[in-house]
Symmetry: C2
């Protein structure tokens, strides 16, 4: 019988998730956050940062596939990819499935997250061994200021936009992202849920609209993230992100060519979200 | 400060939802189930049956709009509608927004749910006053056995298929539903989630395939239902449920003509769900 529970404390969610826990595998504190690894009977291992579940072995593929494959397939030839955050390695693993990728730079401020992932999540952290990868334990916000037209795709896989990750959703940051992208580059970032965080979604979208000529948004239903109907915001210089630019051949569980298109909301509803006509 | 919590006990979910509670407004026990009404700071009033949240004032529109408008718009002229379950009145309210509807029969075995809804959820239960409505407190499984080609649309808005609602997802029941539908009738039922309950989804779909010539499935993301990516299963005698048959003019928050089509999964992914190729 399971008697131990992990009660999530997500500062942005109006409810809490309670996970039955079979074992607490790791508890530590880095310079930046509390890190915990749990074993759950149903979800497998769960990575928890500052009390919020980030990913679990059972469902991590959903978030990671859609964060990586949508922008990479929206680009005709993604050779240079930057990931800010993503220390668990899940997005990196998916990015490296594209043979077009010659260089993947992962900038995560917290190297202990990477170490914990290498130790406890071998299926997620497998990509760190790839010779195309450069890992930097720096502040992504500072790192990007020195990049100019370097990347085809930039993916921001941060924690929730509260505390030290907040700056990664500001207009100022998006200007740095724009400059760091090549002339036909694409940005994607996780931008909270339509159900519980629509004001945040709107704020980020507004900031993106000030910087990028093409702005869009797609969704995936993430069971571990309270709010569930999760948004990924896109800024693009040239390419329409709704259309894959190459034949979709990647090995994925949920992502496919059809699911790429399906991930994008109907434009009529997307407009209602932006304008404020739709509010839950 | 909020110090009281409702900890859900959903027998079909691997996690529990915890709602901060500002007030417990009602606790009772009917012949069939425990009934509770909570007030939550974020969700408004929440209806809880046997420890499982059924609907809340903030998000109830999602489930109710999609349970009602998809089958009703998939039908060219829905005059006679049967709702089994749905004692809170939410689906009924949406059904009655269609001027084509001449008669709506609601059969809920538990009349105390209806009484509680009338008392605590005036915006959901408003439809019970409509002269087109006939409410019967009977066993829907028995009621439907005496119907023959009576209804254009049958909506089964039951609790989870455990305990006394289980029979409402069996092949035998679907044969009664088929007989109770007119020659171009459409059935819709709530059939759990893709994330946590895919075996149930598959079982129901298989039973439907034995009875109806056209079987399909659509989804909506329901925050209060653990599993979130909720499925509604469709059995149809003639009409393709993916296409609205009349101009969409209903006043709704999330449902629209575009969202009707969007609710249906790409066929390639739907096939993977059915075949078992997709498993979370």
């Amino acid at each position: 019988m399971v008697d131990v529970f992990f009660i999530e404390r997500d500062p942005y969610a109006p409810i809490r998730h309670v996970y039955p826990v079979s074992q607490v595998l790791y508890q530590g504190k880095s310079q930046f956050q509390e890190i915990m690894v749990l074993e759950s009977p149903f979800f497998g291992k769960v990575l928890v940062l500052d009390g919020v579940a980030q990913c679990d072995e059972r469902f991590e593929y959903i978030y990671h596939e859609f964060m990586a494959h949508v922008p990479l397939y929206a680009h005709p030839n993604p050779q240079d990819v930057l990931i800010i955050g993503g220390g668990d390695g899940g997005v990196l693993r998916e990015v490296l499935k594209h043979p077009e990728v010659k260089r993947a730079v992962l900038v995560d401020i917290d190297k202990e997250v990477i170490e914990v992932s290498k130790r406890f999540f071998p299926t997620m952290s497998v990509a760190f061994q790839d010779p195309r990868v450069l890992v930097l334990n720096e502040d992504g916000y500072k790192y990007i200021q020195d990049c100019e037209k370097e990347f085809d795709v930039i993916i921001v896989d941060s924690t929730d936009p509260v505390g030290f990750a907040h700056v990664l959703t500001t207009e100022e940051f998006f200007r740095y992202v724009y400059n760091a992208l090549k002339d036909d580059g694409i940005y994607v970032g996780q931008t909270e849920s339509l159900h519980y965080h629509i004001e945040i979604v709107r704020r980020v979208q507004k900031s993106l609209h000030k910087v990028f000529p093409i702005v869009d948004m797609y969704t995936a239903v993430i069971p571990g993230y309270a709010g569930y109907w999760w948004t990924m915001s896109v800024g693009s210089k040239v390419h329409d992100p709704r259309e894959p630019k190459r034949p979709v051949s990647v090995q994925a569980k949920l992502y496919s060519e059809d699911m790429h298109r399906y991930a994008f909301l109907p434009k009529s509803f997307y407009q209602k979200v932006l304008s404020g006509e739709y509010n839950p």
